[in-house]
Amino acid sequence: MIRLEYVYILAGLMFGAFSVQHALDRANPQRWRSAVFWGAYAITFLVGSHLPDTVNGVLVLVMVLLAGVGGLKPGAARSTSPEERQVSAARTGNWLFLPALVIPAVAVLGTLFLKYIKFDGVPLVSPAQVTIVALALGVICALIVGIVMLRPSLGAPLQEGRRLIDSVGWAAVLPQMLAALGALFAIAGVGHVVAKLVTDYVPMTSSFVAVSTFTVGMALFTIIMGNAFAAFPVMITGIGLPLLVTGFHGNPVVVASLGMLSGFCGTLLTPMAANYNIVPAALLELKDRYGVIRVQAATGGIMLVVNTLLMYFFAFRH
C-alpha cells in the first residue's frame, strides 16, 4: 500500500537536497542559515513521524528563529538568461507545456481511479490520502517526461527547484505554522469565547440580525483562524442551529451551506490563510505581501453581503 509516509520521505529528500546545495554555496555569506533552515524542514518530513512532539517543536522553533530573526537570503541562482530562454522556448515550441500539463492530468486521473486499484482486497492507496498521493505521482511523471524531452544536466531540476523555493522562502512553511496555531486556538477554546461574546452582545430580535450575525461571524472567525473549516463547527453550534434553525425555524440546509460560503469570503480577506494569500504573493514575487488580499477584498466583501441576503430570503421559506 502506498502511504502518505512515502510521499513525505520524497519531500524530505528534496528539501534535504536544497539544504545541501545551500551548504555548498560558498558565494552566500549566510549559507549556513539557509542550510540549517531547509535541513530542519527536511528532518520533519524524513523522520518527523517517529520523533517525540517536543523534538519536532524544537525543530520548528529553530526554523522560526532562523527565518524570523535576520531572515533567509536566496542562494546564487545558476539559471539561464532571458535570451537563452527565448531561444529554447522557440525551439521546443508548445511541447514545453506537456510536462506542465502532465501534473494535473495524472493528479486528476489518480484521484478518480487510484481508489479502485486493489491487491488482495487491500487498496493500493488509502482513499483518504488519494489526492495527495496522486499529486506526487503527477510530479514524478512530469519530471520523467521533462527529463526525457529536454535532457537537462542531472542536477538541473534540483538546482531550479531550489531557485524557486528560495523565492518563496519562509512563506513555504507558514501554512503549517498557521495550522499549528489553529490547533492551539482550538485547545485553548478561543472559538467558544468569540461565539459567546457575539451572542452576549448582539440583540437577536429579528431574523435579519440573527442571519447577519451568523454570516459575519463566520467570516470574522475565519479571518482569525485562517480556515472556514475551523470556524464552522463553532459558529453553527453557537449561533446557526440554536438561533436560526430552532429560534427562527430556518432551513438547516440553507443555513449551513451559505454559512460555510460566508466563511470562504473571510478566507479571501486574511493573511492567516497563508497558502491562498501569502504563498502566492511570494511565488509571484509581489512587492506587497498583502497584494493578493487587496485584489480579493472587494469580491470577498460583496459576496459576504450576497450570501447574507440569499440566506435571509431563502432560509425561512417552507
Binding site: 519536532n56 517543536g57 521546443t92 506526487a136 479571501l268
Partner: protein
C-alpha cells in the same frame, strides 16, 4: 477573555509587518500560557500540529519540474502563445480561467489549478503578455496583474468546490449537522452552493472586465 490575547498578537504583529513565522509562534505561546498550558506543552503541541499538517506542503514537490520548465522558457512560451490571440486581454483571459477553475472545482477536480503548478508558470505570464501587447508595463501594473491571476485561482476554487458532493467542506457540514441530530443529503447542501457560485462569477467577472478598463485608462494617461 484572556485567551483572545493571542489573536491580538496576530493582528498587531501582522499589521506592524513583523515576520509572520515569528508572530504566529509568539501568538501560540501567548494563547497557550493564557489558557494555563505549560510552555513546554505548547512547544509539543506546535511540533505535533506541524507534523500532522505536513500534507499542505506536498504541493512544493512541483518546484523541480516547474523550475526546470522555466529554465527552458516555459513562461516565455506562454507569453508567445497569448500574444498570438489578438482579442485576449488581461480581464478576458482571467475571466476564462475563473470559469474554468469554478467548473473543474465543481466536478471535484481541484488539483487542476493551484498557484505553484498553474498560476506562476502559465496564468500569470499569459496575463502579463496580454497586457504587454499594448506596450511595456510599469512595475506596479505588473504587480496588480499578477495579484489578479492569483485571486482568480482562489475565487474560482472557493466558489466552485462546494458544488461537488464529496468535497471536504460538504462532508464536514454533514458531519457537524449529524452530531446535532439533523440528517441532510450532501446533494441538497451542494445545490445551495450553486446560486453563490453563479453570482460570484458575475461579480468577480465584472470586476475583471473593469480591470481592463482601468489598465486602458492608465495607458491613456501615460501616453
Amino acid at each position: 477573555m484572556l485567551v483572545l490575547s493571542g489573536v491580538l498578537v496576530v493582528i498587531v504583529g501582522f499589521a506592524v509587518g513583523l515576520n509572520p513565522l515569528l508572530v504566529v509562534t509568539v501568538a501560540g505561546f501567548v494563547t497557550g500560557i493564557a489558557a494555563g498550558i505549560h510552555p513546554l506543552a505548547v512547544l509539543a503541541d506546535f511540533g505535533h500540529a506541524f507534523i500532522t499538517s505536513r500534507y499542505v506542503a506536498i504541493v512544493w514537490l512541483v518546484v523541480p519540474v516547474i523550475g526546470l520548465l522555466e529554465r527552458v522558457g516555459l513562461r516565455e512560451r506562454a507569453q508567445t502563445l497569448i500574444a498570438n490571440f489578438h482579442t485576449a486581454t488581461v480581464g478576458r483571459l482571467l475571466l476564462v480561467y475563473l470559469l474554468f477553475r469554478q467548473i473543474t472545482a465543481a466536478l471535484g477536480l481541484l488539483s487542476i489549478g493551484g498557484h505553484a503548478q498553474m498560476v506562476r508558470p502559465l496564468i500569470a505570464p499569459m496575463a502579463e503578455a496580454a497586457a504587454e501587447k499594448n506596450g511595456p508595463l510599469d512595475e506596479d501594473t505588473r504587480m496588480i496583474i499578477r495579484a489578479n491571476a492569483a485571486a482568480a485561482d482562489n475565487i474560482g476554487a472557493f466558489f466552485g468546490e462546494d458544488i461537488f458532493v464529496a468535497m471536504g467542506s460538504i462532508l464536514l457540514i454533514r458531519g457537524v449537522l449529524q452530531l446535532n441530530g439533523i440528517n441532510v443529503q450532501p446533494i441538497s447542501l451542494a445545490v445551495w452552493a450553486i446560486p453563490t457560485a453563479v453570482l460570484t462569477f458575475l461579480i468577480h467577472g465584472a470586476r475583471l472586465l473593469l480591470l481592463d478598463r482601468r489598465l486602458q485608462r492608465a495607458r491613456e494617461v501615460r501616453s
